[in-house]
């Protein structure tokens, strides 16, 4: 059974820690007791040992990322072991949960009172009585409905503290799935309203949410909307695909990504990030392409698109998207982006929208549907396929004019797509 | 300082009151109606009566575990005293003190005391208050022969001496410190000799002779009021009962006990009153009847008095 590695609490007031170095990469064999990851607090660097012998199956927090104490940062298990169950469970609440010893609660039992008692032999004290927990933690747990038997404490001797309960409690509220689970103890939060489905707000869903909130709360954004005549682009793509087998066809998205690279070449400021008192304008053009996964979104990054052709970009996007859905992306494949493209074109409904920037990037391009529309070409009215494009940019970094300039370059590329194929 | 007729009659009346009170308390104790310890004053009445006859109401006294006689002689209300020793809410101390802890500051009574010898420095402190307040009040401290072996006795006498305090020390030497005979528990045969060790006079008197007690104490009080410093008056006396009710005092020689009973202070005083023609037998019997009625009324009052409220348990720990 897989073991988890969490951000340890190394001091009375430690709230967060930063992963500074992974000694092992995903897939590497590790031995119990071997130092696998180094974390840093405000004061010290601390080496975390592997909790088990096996393979480092998962890395959830990458180098230089700062996360709250208790956050799951890695998983060690046996090669090929299916840890998806573990990963679909509620990371935030179970970050502190011990995999060994007390069996981790099924997600639907954590908030219910029945499970632990049922697991105890008749006449035996309930596990709650054996859990070391502070009085304040017990009281808080009772108030917010957290079962401390499923927490492993971060206090001395593994004692459950207020902070442990608070973390778990946040998850209880964030994951009403438990409340909807079958069973008499699983009362819906609002019984008078029939609930069709309760979706846990945790894991990737929660990570997305928190990222969006952080982005939205930080960046003053502006969105420019433009309409592109994509007749030339579609013709080019069609001609490129005419001779290609089914699995190697070039996507319109790949062409748009390439166009973005060319636009950035003309307006480099689009490709930047704000770091404290400096705006870093990047040399590399690494474009993230948002990929929908079941109840979520992953943004794998195509690196150096300015140096890649459309065919290669297309191939890479396809590979990354596939592996995103399989959840086999490597850490470096989802980090390091400098710009993001997100597309809703496949749904055939949305022309324009206002995407939210993927921090610390400065801008994001939303791609709408391709739809026939009346356009004027060379003074004549024609019906042409058009595409809605929406550029959201961080006005702290980019003013309206350069954004418009970038879009002009982008439209120009789309209007003269032969340049994309060069 | 010769005693006059009315004075001696008052002393006699006081002694009868003490005796009747103690007899009644004894009865109540044996009947099981009285909690705790009871140290009866019977037999020593001439000391309380003789000493207190020399005092003014604003003088102060510090008493002992055997203190009923002192309180009565200083003007204590026997109704409130009986209520107190019965533990009733109407008692001098709301039932919180009992027999060994009756105090009445309004009468100048700084309290009986459950710890042998503890009243002596308290009496000396009261004497300092008398001196400090620029009046001519005196403080009288009662203690027994047993207490004269306590460190409190020696430290307090020394302090009273060096500060020339208006203190009168009344040693009620009933010849036994609980069960330990005085001739065995100390070397000088008179406690009063110890006063010399602290540089002030010690007088020995017959403690069963109220007149003698009065005269010796009056001298001591006058000296104190005049700023002459402390005096000790040792009153040789005898308790009729054991140390407390229940102690049969088997450690005492029955013959000696009989001799002392024959010298009962009430009998001696009655003889004097009769011999001087100050009171005939009928008058003395009338006093006794009158006192008995007063005591019976006090017993009835006390028995009819309410128990303390349970909420009183927590009050009076601190003065607000």
């Amino acid at each position: 059974m897989a073991s988890i590695i969490t951000m340890p609490k190394l001091g009375l007031t430690m709230k967060t820690g930063t992963v500074t170095h992974w000694n092992a990469a995903v897939g590497d064999p590790v031995v119990e007791g071997e130092v696998v990851v180094e974390v840093m607090t405000e004061k010290i660097t601390y080496q975390l040992e592997s909790p088990a012998t096996g393979v480092l199956l998962k890395v959830l927090v990458y180098e230089d990322e700062e996360v709250p104490v208790g956050t799951l940062i890695g998983v060690v298990g046996q090669s090929g072991e299916d840890v998806s169950t573990l990963l679909t469970r509620d990371f935030a609440a179970e970050a502190a949960a011990s995999i060994s010893g007390v069996a981790p609660a099924p997600a639907d039992a954590a908030a219910g009172a029945g499970a632990p008692a049922a697991a105890s032999p008749a006449g035996q004290p309930s596990p709650a009585s054996r859990v070391a927990a502070t009085p304040a933690a017990r009281k808080l747990a009772a108030e917010v409905g957290v079962d401390i038997t499923h927490l492993s404490g971060t206090g001395p001797g593994g004692r459950v503290t207020i902070e442990d309960v608070t973390r778990a409690a946040e998850d209880v509220y964030a994951a009403p799935a438990r409340a909807a689970a079958p069973g008499p103890s699983a009362a819906p939060a609002e019984p008078e309203r029939p609930v069709r489905e309760v979706v846990p707000y945790h894991g990737v869903r929660r990570a997305i949410g928190e990222r969006m909130v952080a982005s939205h709360g930080t960046s003053p954004t502006v969105t420019h909307h433009v309409k592109a005549d994509v007749h030339p682009l579609l013709e080019l793509v069609a001609s490129m695909n005419a001779t290609r087998p089914e699995g190697e066809r070039v996507s319109v998205t790949a062409a748009v990504v390439k166009a973005v690279a060319l636009g950035i070449e003309k307006t480099p400021r689009i490709n930047s990030s704000l770091h404290d008192d400096r705006i870093m304008v990047w040399s590399e053009v690494n474009v993230g392409v948002a990929v929908a996964v079941p109840d979520g979104l992953i943004v794998p990054v195509v690196r150096d698109v300015d140096r890649l052709g459309v065919v290669e970009i297309s191939r890479r996007i396809k590979d990354l998207a596939g592996r995103a859905r399989e959840d086999t992306l490597q850490p470096e494949e989802v980090s390091g982006g400098t710009f993001t493209v997100t597309s809703l074109s496949g749904f055939g409904s949305v022309d324009w929208f206002s995407p939210i920037i993927n921090p610390p990037e400065a801008a994001i391009l939303g791609v709408g549907r391709v739809v026939d529309d009346v356009v004027v070409v060379d003074g004549r009215v024609e019906v042409r396929p058009t595409m809605g494009l929406s550029l959201t940019f961080d006005h702290r970094i980019i003013d309206g004019a350069p954004a418009a300039e970038f879009l002009a370059a982008l439209l120009d590329c789309l209007a003269h797509p032969e340049r994309l194929a060069e | 300082m010769a005693v006059e007729r009315d004075q001696l009659l008052d002393m006699y009346r006081c002694m009868v009151k003490i005796r009747e009170f103690e007899n009644r308390a004894h009865d109540l104790f044996l009947a099981g109606g009285l909690p705790g310890f009871l140290h009866l004053y019977s037999g020593q009445e001439a000391v309380a009566a003789g000493v207190m006859a020399t005092l003014r109401p604003d003088d102060l006294i510090a008493s002992t575990h055997r203190g009923h006689g002192h309180v009565i002689a200083k003007g204590g209300d026997v109704r409130l005293m009986l209520a107190e020793i019965l533990g009733r809410a109407t008692g001098y101390c709301k039932g919180k003190g009992g027999s060994m802890h009756i105090a009445a500051i309004e009468l100048g009574i700084l309290g009986a005391n459950g710890v042998v010898g503890a009243s002596i420095p308290i009496g000396v402190g009261a004497a300092l208050a008398c001196q400090y307040k620029d009046g001519d009040r005196v403080s009288v401290t009662f203690f027994g022969d047993g207490a004269s072996n306590r460190g409190t006795f020696h430290e307090a006498l020394n302090l009273a001496s060096i500060w020339d305090l208006p203190a009168v020390f009344i040693c009620e030497n009933n010849l036994y410190g609980v069960g330990f005979c005085q001739r065995d528990h100390m070397r000088p045969c008179d406690v009063a000799e110890r006063a010399a060790g602290y540089g002030f006079p010690g007088i020995v008197v017959d403690g069963n002779d109220a007149e003698a007690v009065y005269e010796a104490t009056a001298t001591a009080v006058a000296r104190a009021r005049a700023g002459g410093g402390p005096t000790m008056v040792e009153c040789k006396t005898w308790r009729h009962h054991g140390h407390f009710v229940g102690d049969q005092a088997l450690y005492r020689d029955p013959a000696e006990h009989a001799e002392w009973l024959a010298r009962d202070p009430l009998l001696l005083c009655a003889k004097v009153l009769a011999s001087r023609g100050w009171a005939d037998e009928g008058a003395l019997l009338a006093i006794q009847d009158e006192i008995r009625a007063e005591i019976e009324e006090a017993v009835a009052f006390a028995l009819a008095s309410p128990q303390p409220a349970l909420s009183d348990l927590l009050t009076d720990v601190y003065s607000d």
Binding site: G155 | P121, V124, L128, E155, A156, N158, V317, S319
Partner: protein, 322 residues
Amino acid sequence: MAVRNFGQAIADGLILEMERDPDVYIVGEDVATFPAFGVTRACYERFGATRVRDTPVSETAIMGHAVGAAAAGLRPVAEIMFMDFLGIILDELANQAAKMHYMFGGTMKVPLVVRTVSGAGIGAAAQHSQSLEAWVTHTPGLKMIAPSTPADAKGLIAAAVRDDNPVVFMEHKLLYATEGEVPDGEYVLPIGKADIKRAGSDVTIVSWSSMVQKSLAAADLLAADGVAAEVLDLRTLVPLDKDAILESLGRTHRLVIVHEAVKTSGFGAEVAAIVADEGFDLLDAPIKRVTAPDTPVPFSPVLEAAFVPDAAKIRAAVLSLG
């Protein structure tokens, strides 16, 4: 405000009270002509031998006569030169003074102050160095004051003199030389009010007397550790400001109690028991006590230093809470 040392502040307070109330007098061994720690010399110079009274070496008489004088209307301030001598006066203090108001049914007041010198730190060894506040706090009827600063000492000695109950006023000998701003003129603090000497959010350090200073030093160390320690100076042990302790704990959820007295049955145990009872649900860590070990006070300076709690020990106890 003026800068005064601890001993001067007490003398200032006493002089003001003696001016205000002619029944207040000072009494004890060498209080007039040759005060052991010098505190009452100024009082003697101001008021003379009637109101600042030297006694023989007779602690029993000092305490015992004070009880009688108080009962008879005076307000004695008795000095017991070393707290270790509490044993000599225990009957007068605990059996007489403490009980008279209660056992006489509230009819008698015993307004007296026992000033006494506590604490180790000068090589005074086992019989002149103890902190015996728990002997006092275990006796209903007595109040127990243990200030830590000159200002508190002035305000609380005045309050002690004005109080109608027997009050033990503990003066740690190492505090005498400490200085601080002291309000000018009449200054009276309430008895029974604790004081937050340093605010903090992570842990409450409860202490009194000289250990407040050690706790403040520990709080400085802890700040460097990233721990914000609150230092709560009880100032008065009886009556105890329970509300202040629980209020602080409600914010910090961690409690460390520091006293110089030995551990077993020390007043820290009482604080811990109260918190376990009335503040159980506030606790997010075990209650820690930092105290002297259960030994007599040693003479050797090396051993004495090890005996007395210091900032490092307090810091370690706080950090052990995790």
